[in-house]
């Protein structure tokens, strides 16, 4: 549920219940006050009637004083309990029933018991109550309208910095060098949040930078010892007294040193790509580049007797030539290396995608894991960074990289 919905829900429930409870209490209070006033009036009437009886020694005639009605009924009951109540009566001067307030009590006169009832009009108080109810209802509507307007303002305007911040955080990229911009708010809490996020993002970024620098420095520092190993080996093999077994050992050291240095280069390349340090964008003809690459790989292809089927459309891209070169190198050398003898490679280039398919192991690869660092097949003697580099290059170029296993072919497609 959205913040606005939550806010409105709570707000409306609370406001409505307070207003309803208030209105009910109000209603009863006004009722009590008006009834009280009418009852006082009735009390005066009663004392007037009693005075009349005492003075004139006779029951008052059925007469109206100020539209009040008085009636006497002879009854056997002694001193019936006096009571006040609401009733309706017929006003002979006006048509229809009118609401009124009545007093009923007993009186003894000349040995007879009478029950008498005085009714006075409560029209004016009913009218008053109606007006008050109407005003209360209107007030409720007005309050609700004002509240919802205020909420809209609160959410749209007061919370604006929050949503801005949210958008900012969604767009947050740890490898981007741009710093977090503090927005100046009039709300202290948002300022706090802003500051906290600013501090957090800069810390995350600096940690990330440190990590990258560490990778970079570690890789660089390893290159000089590697150079020492290589040069020592180059010197060692000049020794004519060495035997075949020694040379076998040296060959293995060469291979290991070579692998280490390739690994280093891959790591450094990854850092460079992630740092966006390679930005020498050119307009490149992919069709031509792929054809050049195939020529370059011709020897490898021939040696494995791999059949190439290429369907290359005309496609131009604006990216770094260096990166595209590495991308094609990695994809093609993978397609060759993980292929079987007399296997085949299909390459399709269209306006919207580049697809490279190769035969090879009959088991599909894990489409998610293959792009992770140091993920490699059990038979691969690479470093396990080739596809990570490909994926990163695609990210930099804004392309999408996918792996599918179609018709027993490992299919890598890049969607431009």
């Amino acid at each position: 549920m959205k913040l606005a919905a939550h806010y409105n829900k709570v707000n409306i429930i609370v406001t409505l219940s307070v207003l309803v409870i208030g209105a009910v209490i109000y209603f009863f209070a006004i009722n009590a006050i008006t009834d009280n006033r009418l009852d006082e009036e009735l009390g005066e009437e009663v004392s007037e009637v009693i005075t009349y009886i005492q003075q004139h020694k006779q029951l008052p005639k059925q007469f109206d004083i100020d539209e009040n009605q008085v009636e006497f009924i002879k009854t056997n009951l002694l001193n019936s309990k006096p009571r006040y109540f609401d009733t309706t009566y017929v006003n002979p001067r006006k048509s229809g029933d009118k609401s009124g307030r009545a007093f009923e009590g007993g009186i003894s006169f000349k040995g007879d018991n009478y029950r008498f009832r005085i009714i006075i009009s409560s029209e004016s108080t009913v009218y008053l109550k109606q007006i008050i109810t109407a005003i209360t209802l209107i007030l409720m509507l007005v309050v609700l309208t004002i509240l919802s307007l205020a909420n809209r303002y609160l959410l749209n305007d007061l919370w604006k910095p929050f949503f801005g911040l949210l958008a900012h955080m969604k767009a947050f990229n740890v490898s981007e060098s741009s710093t977090f911009k503090l927005t100046n708010n009039k709300v202290d809490e948002f300022n706090d949040l802003d500051n906290a996020i600013g501090v957090m993002s800069s810390r995350v970024k600096s940690d990330f930078q440190n990590l990258k620098h560490f990778t970079e420095n570690a890789s660089h520092e390893m290159l000089t010892p590697l150079a020492v190993i290589t040069s020592k080996l180059d010197t060692l093999i000049q020794d004519e007294t060495l035997k075949k077994e020694h040379f076998d050992q040296i060959q293995d050291i060469y291979a290991a040193a070579g692998k280490l240095s390739r690994l280093n280069q891959s790591l450094l390349l990854l850092v460079k790509i992630e740092n966006n340090l390679i930005a020498d964008n050119d307009t490149l003809n992919l069709q031509q580049l792929i054809n050049d690459k195939l020529r370059q790989f011709q020897e490898l292809l021939t040696s494995k007797e791999i059949q190439i089927y290429a369907e290359l459309g005309d496609k131009k891209v604006i990216v770094s030539k260096y990166l595209v070169d590495i991308l094609l190198n990695n994809l093609l050398s993978n397609a060759i290396r993980h292929n079987q003898v007399k296997g085949n490679i299909n390459i399709y280039l269209t306006e919207d995608r580049l697809v490279i398919q190769n035969s090879g192991s009959a088991v599909p690869l894990d489409g998610e894991a293959i792009f992770d660092r140091f993920q490699k097949g059990s038979t691969s003697d690479g470093a396990g960074l080739g596809l990570t580099i490909v994926k990163n290059i695609c990210n930099v170029c804004g392309w999408n990289m996918q792996y599918l296993f179609i018709n027993n072919l490992h299919t890598f497609s890049i969607v431009f």
Binding site: L223, S231, I237, F247, A257, D325
Partner: protein, 234 residues
């Protein structure tokens, strides 16, 4: 002019702070009557350069007392004509461009094979001497560097691009055992990851040797116990 092509009697200054590497470079290059000197920091290098003339400076960028670029500036300001090859652990395009702009002749990234270093040195010398002599002579083998043609006993042999590169590489490192990995890196570069598959080298070597033996009886190319090859007239 042959000394330029075959690197004889040249004076080389090696500026490298890593002792192991420095010593090996010194040993490898101190042949054919070449004079090699070495130092480990910027200050000593400047002193040596101020006192002596060299033909060549091998320059590490990351030195304990500063960046090797300073030496390039020094040489440029002093209008010296020492050839400079930068040896750096930093494989960044910026460094490369910076170095070449200040006057370096080549840029070699660590780790490298000594054979590669020597081939680069020879290539730089050849380039510098290109106006005076375009022929590289090794016994009966004469290579025209401009036309990229090879004559043995005045008979032209037709080499593929790889065979030609390989021959130049061998002659630059004549008498030395060259590891297969060094050869593979030189011919294919690290862009094409051969993954230590040396069958290709073998077939290129076989073809080159056959083409040479077709016109001469001297078998210069020798295989050394599966580790590599040696091009020698001894």
């Amino acid at each position: 002019m042959h000394q330029f092509c075959n690197l004889k009697h040249v004076k080389i200054l090696i500026v490298e702070d890593e002792q192991g590497l420095r010593e090996n470079m010194l040993t490898y290059l101190s042949e054919d009557n070449n004079i090699c000197e070495s130092c480990a920091d910027l200050a000593t290098a400047i002193i040596k350069l101020a006192a002596y003339q060299y033909d060549f400076v091998l320059l590490d960028i990351g030195l304990p007392d500063g960046e090797g670029f300073e030496i390039l500036h020094y040489l440029k300001n002093e209008m010296r004509n020492e050839a400079v090859i930068i040896i750096s652990a930093r494989n960044s395009l910026d460094d490369r461009i910076k170095g070449l702009n200040i006057g370096a002749d080549d840029y070699l990234v660590k780790p490298f094979h000594l054979a590669e270093l020597k081939a680069r040195i020879v290539a730089v010398f050849r380039r510098k001497a290109a106006n005076s002599n375009n022929n590289l002579v090794f016994n009966e083998i004469v290579i025209n560097l401009i036309g990229r043609t090879v004559f043995i006993n005045d008979v032209e042999i037709l080499l593929t691009r790889k065979e030609y590169d390989m021959l130049l590489y061998f002659i630059a490192n004549k008498g030395k055992v060259i590891a297969k990995t060094a050869l593979a890196e030189h011919l294919w570069g690290d862009e094409m990851d051969m993954h230590d598959n040396f069958d290709f080298i073998y077939s290129h070597i076989k073809n080159l040797r056959k083409k040479i033996l077709d016109v001469t009886t001297n078998d210069y190319l020798k295989s050394v116990y599966g580790i590599g090859y040696k091009f020698t007239d001894k």
